[in-house]
Symmetry: C2
Subunit: 111 residues, 2 copies
């Protein structure tokens, strides 16, 4: 047997949350993410940075008239694909964890 590997970029607490939240919400701001995910400034910035560097997230500067300028973050197509693949693999792994009843095995034969 052989388990599928999990994208290490997405399989990290804060980044999984960022990606999932962005996927559900469409786009979001730094502050909203910060509030929603209970993250500290530096940490959120670092992880957002990695996702952007990987091409999973894109940022757009917004500066309406009389508005405080801020950056809006969203998943890219590539990010959406990666998230989808990630969730599928995760499902496989998790399914395996419950698919077979927990019993004592003989350990004699090879799998």
């Amino acid at each position: 047997m052989n388990l599928p590997a999990l994208d290490p970029l997405l399989h990290q607490p804060l980044r999984t949350q960022i990606a999932a939240f962005l996927s559900g919400r469409g786009e979001s701001t730094f502050s909203e993410l910060k509030r929603t995910l209970n993250a500290t400034d530096g940490n959120l910035d670092a992880h957002l940075g990695k996702l952007i560097e990987a091409g999973y997230v894109e940022s757009r500067r917004e500066s309406g008239v009389g508005e405080r300028s801020r950056t809006v973050y969203a998943l890219t197509e590539s990010g959406r694909t990666a998230l989808s693949t990630y969730v599928s693999r995760l499902s496989e792994i998790v399914a395996l964890s419950g698919a077979i009843p927990i019993v004592q095995t003989s350990l004699k034969g090879k799998s």
Copy 2:
């Protein structure tokens, strides 16, 4: 809104695989885990060590007559609970993302 946090101990590629595999298989050996998860010796040892230190996994030394001695690893009750909670939280987060939901099979009921 506010997303649930993910157990950082379980939310790491190799450790998620170890926990899920152990949950499904009941118990396993170092070599079987190594083969199944495609892990290197040192890395597997390190992560197994963390799970043991956290009380999620227990190891038992086996040394039958005329047998090579080896160690058998299994989830503890605490580990099974943690995995179950972890999967529930993950499901919530993934559900929010709008992606394919993770199906929980025979793991114990959600928190």
